[in-house]
């Protein structure tokens, strides 16, 4: 009785749905990655400090991936949100509200709010304009943090943070055991959320905007609303990463919002590959290890080698270099 053309459309619809959900299926390399991350907590007790930092930078780079890899916005000022989060958590802890999770929530809200406000500035303009706008937002915030000495401690950094035990009973220890477990858990939860969001129709429409904003608008994607949403969402993530750094190191300095942090996180992300969520995490690990190894080898000059890696990477062509992890994690283009 049913109309064959309608059934055909249904079939197409099912096929499309199946293809889209196949993209979001978990694959074995992903399980392996998180199993290795969990194992590192039990097997590498003397690397906690390094791993903690890698997890935080990884979360930060994941946030940049949402902006850069998914929405295609080149940001040279992502540290603005990282710094906003770090200072929020730090100032709260100094004022006596030292509960870590409360600090993270506040960091997410403040950074996200800042992201929402500034997102309207990156809606228009070319890559260069966006780059300059993001850069100048972070510079303005840097100057603010530098000048508001009564609030941020200025160039001396924010001293006197008292971070309460995690969940009321897990005291932060000097070996970074609780810190790393905490950061890793937060990273994992936020990663799951990001993976879900970017696999959902929302994430697909963001990718469509990156691919071609005009065509995306033509098929009914509200381009500006999507960009505002993804930018604010990513800013929340960066804020949480900043909050984590503040809480686990119990110190905040201007370093969290400086330009080199924005540049480093971009390099970190690119080192791991852009646009498949794991790039930031892998890049952070590689970056931290390389930094440790190179600065042992040639203290002070390790930046030279990092720079060389990027020049070579670009000259050789990033697409070719990153073909294999993209395939492995199942988000390669077809």
């Amino acid at each position: 009785m049913s109309d064959p053309t309608v059934r055909g459309v249904d079939l197409l619809h099912d096929e499309a749905a199946a293809a889209l959900s196949a993209r979001t299926r978990w694959r074995w390399p992903e399980f392996a990655f998180w199993a290795a991350a969990a194992a590192s907590f039990f097997l590498l007790p003397d690397q906690y400090l390094l791993l903690n930092e890698a997890a935080i930078i990884g979360l930060f780079a994941l946030s940049l991936d949402l902006v850069l890899g998914y929405a295609g916005i080149i940001s040279l000022g992502h540290a603005a949100f990282f710094g906003a989060g770090a200072y929020t958590a730090g100032i709260l802890a100094k004022a006596g509200y030292g509960d870590p999770l409360l600090g993270l929530a506040a960091a997410a809200v403040v950074a996200g709010g800042l992201g929402f406000i500034t997102s309207f500035l990156v809606l228009r303009g070319s890559d260069l304009t966006r780059l300059m706008v993001t850069l100048s937002v972070s510079l303005v915030l840097y100057e603010l943090a530098n000048r508001l000495v009564w609030l941020t401690g200025g160039a001396d950094g924010l001293q006197g943070m008292v971070v309460a035990p995690l969940l009321g009973w897990l005291e932060f220890d000097i070996f970074g055991r609780v810190a790393y477990g905490y950061s890793l858990a937060v990273l994992f939860v936020l990663f799951l959320v990001a993976r879900r969001v970017m696999g959902a129709p929302f994430g697909l429409s963001v990718r469509a905007v990156k691919g071609n904003a005009l065509r995306a608008a033509a098929i009914g994607v509200p381009v500006n609303a999507r960009l505002v949403a993804i930018y604010s969402f990513a800013a929340c993530y960066a804020g949480v990463a900043g909050g984590l750094l503040a809480e686990t190191t119990q110190f905040v300095s201007l370093d969290v919002i400086a330009f080199h942090r924005s540049a480093d996180v971009m390099l970190t992300l690119v080192l791991g590959g852009v646009g498949y969520l794991y790039g930031g995490l892998i890049g952070a690990l590689v970056f931290k290890l390389a930094q440790g190894w190179l600065s042992d080898l040639t203290p002070e000059y390790w930046q030279f080698w990092i720079g060389l890696v990027f020049v070579l990477l670009v000259v050789a062509g990033r697409e070719r270099v990153f073909a294999w992890p993209l395939r492995l994690f199942g988000r390669g283009r077809r």
């Binding site: 260069l128 100048s136 303005v140 080199h260 930046q303 030279f304 890696v309 020049v311 670009v314």
Partner: protein, 286 residues
């Protein structure tokens, strides 16, 4: 008051010479070159080594610094930059930041991380007072050189064959190539000229701006401001923007030391939002 204006103008002139090469690569060739400051730093250090270590007279060291930097520019353009012209802006950002990191680390390895100064000859150290304005001889020389350069550039762009070829290559590279203009040679020459000017600016400005291995990153923002605010399509746009920035920066640091930098970044943000194509660019620039 007038002294501040004078210093500001000198500062702005230096910024112009430093940034005008970037206006070409960025505004005209549409290549995001964050490593422009590295060329300026190269020129500055060439000047320092020539004057302080080899005893070359200051005035002779300036053209040598420009030539040396232009040579570096040609080599890099031919071997590396050429490859990224057609790549995405993200790749250009990464590539040039990579170059900056290498240049900074390389310089601090070779010459040390501390700030360096060029030893000025005796006749440039004095100050004299004209009509109540105290002027440093060195800054006067800077203004003179930069003004001549600006006029020369403007003349070259509008009056010479090279200038009209460059404008043609910029307006439409495909058609220009069809007309028998060697576009890639023009771009190489322009790139060399731009980096040579940056090198000259670096050597000339080392005394005013301060020179250390972090120079490229520290002044990257200023160069970008000059180009984005001035617009890349002409000489006069970046020139006006550089003067404005120079005077505003010097005056800001003098009168409002606590919020000087803050004001400059905020103003730039406002300009970018209201006129993304630049304050002085004609509406139909591209």
């Amino acid at each position: 008051m007038l002294t501040i204006l004078f210093d500001g103008v000198a500062y702005g002139m230096i910024l112009f010479v430093l940034a005008v090469g970037l206006a070409v690569t960025l505004g005209v060739m549409n290549v995001i070159n964050l490593a422009h400051g590295a060329f300026a730093m190269a020129g500055g250090y060439i000047g320092v080594v020539l004057v302080n270590r080899l005893g070359v007279p200051f005035l002779a060291a300036l053209p040598l610094a420009a030539l040396g930097t232009a040579a570096i520019g040609v080599v890099l353009e031919r071997t590396l930059y050429r490859r990224v012209y057609r790549q995405s802006h993200l790749d250009q950002v990464l590539f040039t930041i990579g170059l900056v990191f290498m240049a900074s680390a390389g310089v601090s390895w070779a010459l040390g991380a501390q700030q360096v100064f060029i030893t000025l000859p005796e006749f440039l150290r004095g100050r004299f007072v004209v009509a109540g304005v105290s002027m440093g001889a060195y800054r006067l020389l800077v203004i003179a050189i930069c003004a001549v350069l600006a006029l020369g550039l403007q003349g070259m762009l509008t009056r010479t064959r090279f200038g009209s070829r460059l404008r043609a290559a910029v307006d439409d590279p495909v058609v220009a190539r069809g007309m028998g203009i060697n576009v890639s040679a023009i771009f190489t020459a322009t790139f060399a000229l731009g980096s040579g000017l940056a090198g000259l600016g670096g050597a000339l400005g080392a005394e005013i701006l301060g020179l250390d291995p972090n120079f490229p990153l520290k002044f990257m923002v200023y160069f970008l401001i000059v180009v984005t605010v001035g617009g890349g399509a002409s000489i006069s746009g970046p020139f006006a923007a550089a003067l404005l920035l120079g005077v505003a920066d010097v005056a800001g640091k003098y009168y409002l030391p606590s919020i000087g930098a803050f004001v400059i970044y905020s103003v730039m943000l406002v300009v970018l939002i209201l006129r993304p194509q630049g304050l002085f660019a004609p509406r139909s620039a591209r």
